[in-house]
């Protein structure tokens, strides 16, 4: 859809010939993924030799619109967000969802589990009407997305790998297998064996099974794998002694948007 734009974008900016122009934007989020991008420079300062960052409000006061790759963090929660996101889509040759909020709507979608009016009332009281909001959505619900980097927050190394792949026109290397695979490779004791619960069997790998490695069960922040066996997962949680409500807690913490869509 944005293919025609690439010629125009690439012919501009002779000043930094050879460098691909990238931009970062955010909607409803904590900006932790953009911070992870900044942190990736600690070990990959050479990235700046391949890309030119032309728009990154959190880190720079320069704001140019001649970017080719746009990274978008955050969920869409207002009409005005959609308009802004469409403008970004219009400009970018490649649009990347950066992190869980953009990719799956993340924890923002927890509010979708409750009546919207009640949610607004609770936080803003008598001024609830002043606050424009609708149920949180991933950016793919509004525009076409070319690639995604999952996680809450994103994994620093995975971000670097995705950028490298995009620069040479390859498909970003995001795993389709579950966290359990990485956990076994690490030789971790399964957290189910120590009385904890884990979404690892149905959650997309790529994080190095970081939560089980640090003694906590996977929370599902990277979204579910393609064709997850949710029934089997529910049985596992049931056998671990969880009530139906507790099973729903696990499935909704980061994947409430998906659960609600599936239920409709």
């Amino acid at each position: 859809m944005a293919g025609n734009k690439s010629q125009g974008a690439k012919s501009q900016g002779a000043k930094s010939q050879g460098k691909v122009k990238v931009a970062f934007f955010d909607f409803a989020c904590c900006e932790g993924c953009q911070l992870t991008v900044i942190d990736s420079l600690q070990t990959h300062l050479d990235l700046l030799e391949a890309v030119e960052i032309v728009n990154f409000r959190e880190a720079s006061s320069e704001g140019r619109q001649d970017y080719q790759i746009a990274f978008v963090e955050g969920s869409i929660t207002r009409e005005q967000d959609e308009e802004r996101l469409r403008r970004i889509r219009e400009q970018a040759d490649i649009l990347v969802a950066l992190g869980a909020c953009a990719h799956t709507a993340g924890v923002n979608a927890l509010k979708n589990l409750k009546p919207l009016d009640e949610v607004r009332q609770y936080v803003y009281g008598e001024h609830a009407d002043w606050y424009d909001t609708y149920p949180a959505r991933p950016i793919s619900a509004v525009v076409e997305v070319d690639a995604f980097i999952p996680g809450c927050p994103i994994d620093r190394e995975e971000f670097v790998e995705v950028v490298k792949a995009l620069l040479v026109g390859k498909k970003p290397p995001i795993p389709d297998y579950p966290v359990c695979v990485e956990c076994k490779l690490k030789g971790n004791v399964c957290v189910f064996h120590v009385g904890k619960v884990c979404m690892g069997p149905v959650t997309r790998a790529g994080c190095g099974a970081i939560c089980p490695t640090y003694g906590d069960g996977c929370e599902g922040c990277r979204g579910l794998i393609p064709n997850p066996n949710e029934n089997a997962m529910e049985e596992v949680l049931d056998e671990a002694g969880l009530t139906l409500d507790e099973i729903m807690d696990r499935f909704t913490m980061f994947n409430a948007y998906r659960e609600l869509e599936a239920g409709e």
Partner: protein, 429 residues
């Protein structure tokens, strides 16, 4: 200059979306304010119904910069609600993790967000060419603090191992020794940081206000303590609403706070003003070098106070690791939690100031009520009054310089707008 309009749409190099609006007609200031336009996220509404053990994991997602601060404050609220006591080792690890984040956030703000104003660049990136040693030092400190947080909590942004009553993971003795060596080596970077920031020409501006922070007699307070103000008031944490007194303002949909005056200030400068005696001797030396002698009333110097706190935290981390090593570090199972219908208030001095989380729980251990009061919100009234006091003093300068000084003032407060937006928003202008 008789008339001028400045609208800075989305102030850059701050965390989140905010606008500056200035309108001057015939030399008279009609409008001068900072607005928050971040999308609201409604955390307090949607954590209701969630089980207690999820609360710190969900609320850390309020903010990518002060995730450890939110998680710690959240855990303290839950631990107080259920009467969970921490072991001495767990306390030391909590502090270590917390200090790591203070350093991480302060180095981000001082070097990446504020320093470009003084080097005349848009961001830290052009400095890679012109001041490589400065950038490399910043990256080194950032990596150290990030690695420190990761050693204790698994990762900095959204810590994993922090849980109700303690931790699900324990660093090894080897990791602690290695970290201690790196912290000791970082003293040189701290000295260079103090040197750099003591040469910066801070804008001259004074406006005394009420400074609010936590306080402990025996240490520079970051976690727990009592609430104190520079106007001589003191409250237990549970009485936080007597300090915050939230109110609505007619020209903005933001809820602001005030206590004894029209506004108060929280953050590094407030802490330094209220708790100078508890700073580590090396941090006091740094303060002297930076020209900070309480009471400091120039808000631009909040950034300098953050430099002092980085020095303090590096020293305190070294002491904490010594203590952990001499006690002997070992994995500990967090105590069993007995849930009950109850409530609790947590308060911490997160990088940008005092943060409150207040929860009520039902008998089933699920959250029934939640309230979070964020430092950036508490600073809104004070920032706006500072802007209104500063503008008349600089009205004769070129418009571009006025705009830049106002942006620098906003940045000095290190506003964390993602945090504040669980709670306030303003229409776009």
């Amino acid at each position: 200059m008789s008339g001028m309009k400045i609208e800075v749409h989305h102030v850059t190099r701050v965390e989140g979306h905010g606008n500056i609006v200035v309108d001057v007609k015939n030399g008279e200031i009609k409008e001068c304010r900072f607005e928050v336009v971040e999308a609201p996220r409604f955390f307090e509404a949607f954590v209701r119904g969630r089980p207690y053990h999820e609360l710190s994991h969900i609320t850390s997602r309020i903010c990518g910069i002060c995730a450890v601060g939110h998680a710690t404050t959240s855990l303290r609220a839950t631990e107080k609600a259920f009467g969970v006591e921490l072991s001495e080792q767990a306390w030391l690890l909590r502090k270590l993790n917390f200090h790591g984040e203070i350093i991480d956030s302060h180095v981000l703000h001082t070097y990446y967000l504020v320093a470009p104003d003084f080097f005349g660049t848009h961001s830290v990136i052009p400095l890679v060419e012109t001041h490589r040693e400065v950038v490399e030092r910043a990256l080194r400190i950032k990596k150290l603090s990030g690695d420190l947080c990761a050693m204790v909590g698994g990762r900095h942004t959204h810590p994993i191992a922090m849980t109700v009553g303690g931790f699900t993971h324990t660093p090894t003795e080897h990791e602690l020794r290695e970290m201690k060596e790196r912290l000791e080596a970082a003293r040189a970077d701290m000295d260079a940081t103090v040197d750099l920031f003591s040469t910066l020409p801070w804008p001259e501006f004074e406006r005394e206000t009420e400074y609010v922070s936590l306080h402990k007699d025996d240490e520079y307070a970051f976690i727990d303590g009592t609430i104190v103000t520079s106007d001589g008031f003191s409250y237990p944490i549970e009485d936080y609403k007597k300090v915050t007194n939230e109110y609505c303002v007619p020209f903005s949909t933001a809820k602001w706070t005030k206590h004894n005056r029209d506004s108060y200030m929280v953050g590094a400068l407030a802490r330094l003003n209220n708790n100078f005696d508890q700073l580590h001797p090396r941090a006091k030396e740094a303060a002297k070098k930076l020209g900070l002698q309480p009471i400091v009333t120039n808000p631009f110097l909040n950034t300098a106070a953050q430099v002092v706190e980085m020095v303090h935290c590096v020293e305190d981390c070294i002491q904490i690791i010594d203590e952990l090593l001499s006690r002997g570090i070992k994995p500990e199972e967090p105590p069993a939690v007995e849930v009950k219908a109850s409530e609790g208030v947590g308060a911490c001095e997160v990088p940008r100031g005092i943060l409150f989380h207040h929860y009520a729980y039902g008998e089933d251990g699920r959250c029934t009520e939640a309230n979070c009061i964020i430092p950036t919100n508490q600073n809104m009234a004070n920032l706006n009054l500072d802007m209104q006091a500063l503008l008349p003093q600089i009205l004769d300068r070129p418009q571009e310089e006025i705009r830049h000084l106002l942006e620098m003032l906003v940045r000095a407060y290190d506003p964390c707008i993602s945090c504040s937006a669980h709670f306030l928003t303003v229409e776009f202008v």
